[in-house]
């Protein structure tokens, strides 16, 4: 390369020509002299190199090539991604290049912060209320979630730590089923639709019982994909339970709300997807099988013994009853004999008493007879006397009565006068009043008329 200055352009009024390096250096000086400012926009074409971080800052109207020394970037502790909205502080710079390296213009950032976290959170909150009002937080939670799925789907970044964490969780459960990996970007603007697509494909073709969506955490901006409205609606309406694990403790993403379960780490998500500890469950099942077998055998053996006892029991019972009956019979016979003896003794006693009383009565009778002898004679005599006297009295009375008998009076010439009504007429007045009378003589009646009128 020649160091001699060549002739300038014919007829040109411009200064120069200058060596390009000199001009480039002057240009750098000029650019560096520009006022230092703050600019904001969205990061794209991010490249993290050993010495510096390069990216373009864009908005709808234009873009600026930016860079930041790696030492400055590392001090910030920001996890920069394409799509992140940032505010940069810095100024223009120009690398003049060299004989072997290309020159470049850059906005050299010396300060940076992630923009709009507050707005993002507010935006997420608005969307959260909207989805909640539509009832989209419920369908996933109502899905039956198998405790022991045969097949699991996992949506995560390929090569990310989350993948190892999921595997670690599954190993902890002793689960060795069918695992379908659906790798998708998990943090930039392309992530949400690709994750949604992966979920739908898993359901359509993966034949999975549950799906884990895992990411190893990040800032609100990093996790914006998991609050994407379309993705969240897709998750809410999936017929397979989704276990979300985007590893963010402070600010929940919307996928945490719509998913069936939300876990803090991918390991926990895996354990939540397989709730059964397979090794322990196998041991328990072996125990259950043994117990059931023992129960069945014991039940049969116990019943068989009882049946055997029952089979013996009737004979023993009959024998016992028979001996009891014999005993009763003996007692009855003895009691019968005793009763007869007692009655016989009682009868003999009665007989003796009666005999004695009979004898006594005979004696008494005889004594009474002998005592009554004179009295009876007196009585007979008194009776005879009394009888004779009474007969005499009766004859006298009979005669007296005969003297007064009307028939006898009629026989002596008297007559009874009675009226037509049969009543006796005892006066002349009565006879005159009656006019017709009946005269009864001792032999018969005669009708008569009273002529002695008044």
């Amino acid at each position: 390369m020649s160091e001699t200055r060549p002739a300038g352009l014919d007829g040109s009024a411009l200064k120069g020509p200058f060596p390009v390096g000199e001009y480039a250096a002057a240009l750098r000086g000029q650019l560096r002299g520009f006022r230092r400012v703050q600019v904001f926009g969205e990061v794209s074409n991010l490249g993290v190199r050993a010495k510096a971080v390069y990216f373009e800052l864009r908005d709808v109207n234009g873009a600026l090539p930016c860079s930041m020394w790696r030492s400055d970037y590392d001090r910030l502790g920001i996890d920069l991604h394409n799509g992140t909205e940032v505010v940069l502080g810095g100024g223009c710079d120009y690398y003049p290049g060299s004989a072997t390296s290309s020159p470049s213009f850059t906005f050299r950032a010396t300060a940076m912060r992630v923009a709009g976290e507050g707005e993002l959170l507010a935006q997420i909150e608005r969307l959260r209320r909207k989805l909640s009002a539509e009832g989209l937080f419920d369908p996933q939670k109502a899905l039956p979630r198998p405790a022991l799925p045969r097949s699991l789907g996992v949506v995560t970044g390929e090569g990310g730590k989350a993948r190892d964490d999921v595997l670690a969780g599954l190993r902890r459960r002793g689960w060795e089923g069918r695992l379908v990996w659906a790798f998708a970007p998990v943090q930039d603007r392309r992530a949400a639709p690709l994750i949604a697509r992966a979920l739908q494909d898993l359901v359509a073709t993966g034949g999975v019982d549950a799906i884990v969506v895992a990411r190893g955490g990040g800032s609100v901006v990093d996790l914006m994909a998991f609050s994407d409205e379309t993705l969240c609606r897709t998750v809410a309406l999936l017929p397979v339970p989704v276990i979300a694990s985007v590893g963010h403790h402070t600010d929940r993403t919307l996928i945490d709300d719509v998913a069936a379960v939300s876990c803090s780490t991918p390991t926990h998500a895996a354990e939540s997807a397989v709730r059964v500890h397979c090794g322990e469950a196998r041991t328990a099942m072996t125990g259950h099988a043994r117990r059931l077998q023992a129960c069945g055998r014991r039940a049969v053996i116990e019943r068989a013994r009882r049946l055997e006892d029952l089979t013996r029991a009737p004979a023993e019972h009959v024998a016992r009853q028979r001996s009891r009956l014999h005993q009763k019979l003996r007692e009855l016979r003895a009691a019968g004999r005793r009763g007869v003896e007692l009655r016989r003794a009682a009868s003999a006693a009665h007989l003796t008493t009666l005999t004695r009383r009979s004898a006594a009565a005979g004696v008494e009778h005889r004594r009474a007879q002998s005592a009554l002898g004179p009295a009876a004679t007196d009585l007979d005599r008194v009776a005879t006397t009394t009888l004779a006297r009474r007969e005499r009295d009766l004859e006298r009375l009979r005669l007296a009565l005969a003297a007064h008998d009307p028939e006898r009076t009629l026989e002596r010439g008297y007559a009874l006068v009675s009226g037509p009504d049969g009543e006796l007429i005892t006066s002349a007045t009565g006879a005159r009043a009656a006019r017709r009378v009946s005269l009864r003589f001792h032999d018969e009646r005669v009708a008569a008329r009273i002529e002695d009128g008044s």
Binding site: P144, P146, A147, L148, P149, R150, S151, G153, L170, G174, W175, E176, G177, R178, L179, V180, W181, A182, F183, P193, A196, R197, A198, Q200, D201, L202, V203, A204, T205, G206, G207, V208, D209, T230, T234, V240, V274, R275, V276, C278, A281, R282, A284, M285, H288, A289, R291, L292, Q293, C295, G296, A299, V300, R303
Partner: protein
Amino acid sequence: MSTPERSYETASARIEEIIKRLDSGEAGLRETLELVREGRELVELCAGELEAVGRGLEELRLDELVARLEAGGSGGSGGSASP
């Protein structure tokens, strides 16, 4: 998707119930034998499920699965995937 008529958890819960009932000693012979038979069937079902997830982890990639299905002429990945 594995959708056994009776899921592992309902089967294992029923086994617990059965064992509790048997332990109570209140079941008669007929019921005991019936419960033991049911319990054995359920243990077999659960053991089958555990066996299915105990034969070594089978890892697949969804994109390969989809490609395989598409190559097999099944006609796309299905679903109304958004772009």
